[in-house]
Amino acid sequence: GGGGGSSSNDAFAAHLKDRGPITYVQGKVNDNATHEVIARWNAEHPDEKVTLKEQTAAADQQHDDLVRNFDAKNADYDVVSVDLVWTAEFAAKGYLQPLKGDLAIDTNGLLDSAVKGAQYNGTQYAAPMTSDGGMLYYRSDLVKTPPKTWDELFADCAIAKQAHIDCYAGQFNKYEGLTVNASEAINGAGGSIVGTDGKTPTVDSPEATKGLEVLAKAYQDGDIPKQAITYQEEEGRQSFESGKLLFLRNWPYVYSLASGEASSKVKGKFDVAPLPGFDGVGASTLGGHNAAISAYSDHKATAIDFLKYLESEEAQSLFLGKGSLAPIRTEVYKDPALVKKYPYLPTLLTSIENAVPRPITPFYQAVTKAVQDNAYAAIKGDKTSAQAVKDMAAAIKAASSGQ
């Protein structure tokens, strides 16, 4: 596949001042906010209308679709919604228009971690749009004070035993969720996965080993139940809602379901807390999406305006209010009306403020596979955590050298 030139893309200089209708591409829309946001924009900009192009629901397919279209220099994709973890890859391939000069955006008042997540090599390539962070769901009827550290958490497993339920689960199936959970454990122990250059593996460290070992040991001890090795978000939620799980690491979406659904047996019996760490609050992995302008867009002036609109308080409030999507503006988290509606907001803010992005690297696909494969093996006990991080490092190194 073709990419940019050695340091930039000829297309970066084209159509900077052009205006006109644009297309906004995003994965399958499953919130009630996006349509509203676009409708409002269109009402005010009748000559620069935004058309929504929905991709399929599967993230992998969204990624592949974007690559394919960028690669074909498709001018139909003007603004794209980019998963946080793809930003570096796309930037490095020259697909994304750097947001500088006329196209620069104002990052004041935005969550710092979210802004960083949209940068690559010190350049802003995208505008943060929505965020996300993990939280610890716990059974407030069984556990009075939520654990702050892993040690506390596993100590509470005794309660689970008494209640004949499982203790802790996250997302340990071999998929992207495992990268999230493993990174949280590693980051929480002070480790990291790749260096700031996005290439050099830094994961082969005692800290990373220590982090990973927490999960491995818990799995072997049964504090993480055997079946949790197959859990994605949903299985964990089902288990928690049916009252079979004491602690669950999951995203904010669970909150309203567990407190609202008829099938939920834990209504009013649970609460959320920041993720545990080693000595204090742990490090959540940052989720969310950025909005970026395609280097091949014919109407970049309109595109940047639309990007700015997406960051506006109006749009952000809509995202949270109508779509339950975590905003990237700090002040929105403090809106009392919204806090009433979403009681978990303060916890989420803490979580996101403490969040570490997943590795920012153009080789994200290879890195995440390296993490997943080895973390999975470590948790299952097929290899030691030390060996696992060593292998992770080697695999990341191989990937970043073009293999």
Partner: protein, 278 residues
């Protein structure tokens, strides 16, 4: 009825029962789930509980997806692919089974080889090709690749069937004043019906099930059901709308069952008995 034949029919019915359970049990589970409230997706009660039609409403909710349209798209694409695949397949299979010409084995090998390249690797070049000629999102962008996947299958199966036919009958028809084509279409093709209809059904379903190409080359207007199902979403991120997917699966399966029932007489009858001595 005699004891042996009674025993034989008992054995047949036992076999039939097993087959039916085999085919229907998982399908039953799909249907049960399709009628179940999303919140009770994982409820393992083996009979219908929390019955609701919501899932079907979700499936056909035009504000969320274009399932109805996708269904028609699938029928259209599948129909065209099957028709073309069958016609071209019948041509080729006839040549393979009945004519002698040089390079036959090589051609067969090429046709077979065509179905050996991993589909996942074809998607990107095809996307680029079709984008360049402006076919992206068009029906032909799905139909033509589907035909190429279906063709080896139709050619090979039809060739196998054609070789076993009593071709004396074609001769009789030609004596009766039929052209080669008439002899083939009026006599041999009806006789080959079990094989042809079977091939058609297999081909149709293959096209009907195709996902990979369609997911990349279709747009909202041309997307088939497989893609539509894959893009079903709950109201919440991460929540897999299993029940809606199962409902869609149920809906998708029904036209095919009807089709099979409509054609089944053709599949059932062994037609060649009594025609020739040999």
């Amino acid at each position: 009825m005699t004891t042996t034949s009674r025993w034989r029919s008992a054995r047949t019915y036992l076999g039939v029962a097993l087959i039916v359970v085999w085919g229907l049990a998982p399908f039953y589970w799909m249907v049960v789930t399709a009628f179940r409230d999303l919140q009770f997706t994982f409820d393992p009660t083996p009979w219908p509980t929390h019955v609701t039609l919501d899932n079907f409403r979700t499936v056909f909710d035009t504000s969320r997806n274009h399932f109805g349209r996708s269904l028609l798209n699938s029928v259209f694409i599948g129909g065209v692919v099957t028709a073309i695949g069958l016609v071209v397949g019948v041509f080729t299979a006839y040549a393979m089974a009945r004519l002698r010409f040089p390079g036959k084995n090589a051609i067969l090998a090429v046709i077979l080889a065509a179905s050996m390249f991993p589909g996942v690797a074809l998607v990107t070049p095809l996307f680029q090709l079709f984008r360049n000629i402006g076919w992206y999102g068009s029906y032909q962008a799905m139909i033509i690749p589907d035909i190429s996947f279906v063709l080896p299958l139709t050619i090979y199966t039809l060739t196998a069937f054609f070789r076993e036919m009593p071709w004396e009958l074609e001769e009789a028809a030609r004596i009766d004043g039929a052209t080669k084509r008439q002899a083939f279409t009026k006599i041999m093709l009806p006789l080959a019906a079990p094989g042809v209809v079977t091939t058609a059904i297999l081909a149709f379903i293959a096209a009907w099930n195709e996902f990979l190409i369609a997911s990349q080359l279709s747009n909202d207007k041309s997307q088939p059901v497989t893609v539509a199902i894959a893009s079903f979403n709950g109201t919440q991120p991460h929540v897999e709308p299993y029940t809606a997917v199962m409902a869609a699966g149920t809906v998708v399966t029904i036209p095919l069952i009807l089709m099979v029932l409509a054609f089944q007489r053709r599949i059932v009858d062994g037609l060649t008995a009594g025609g020739v001595k040999g």
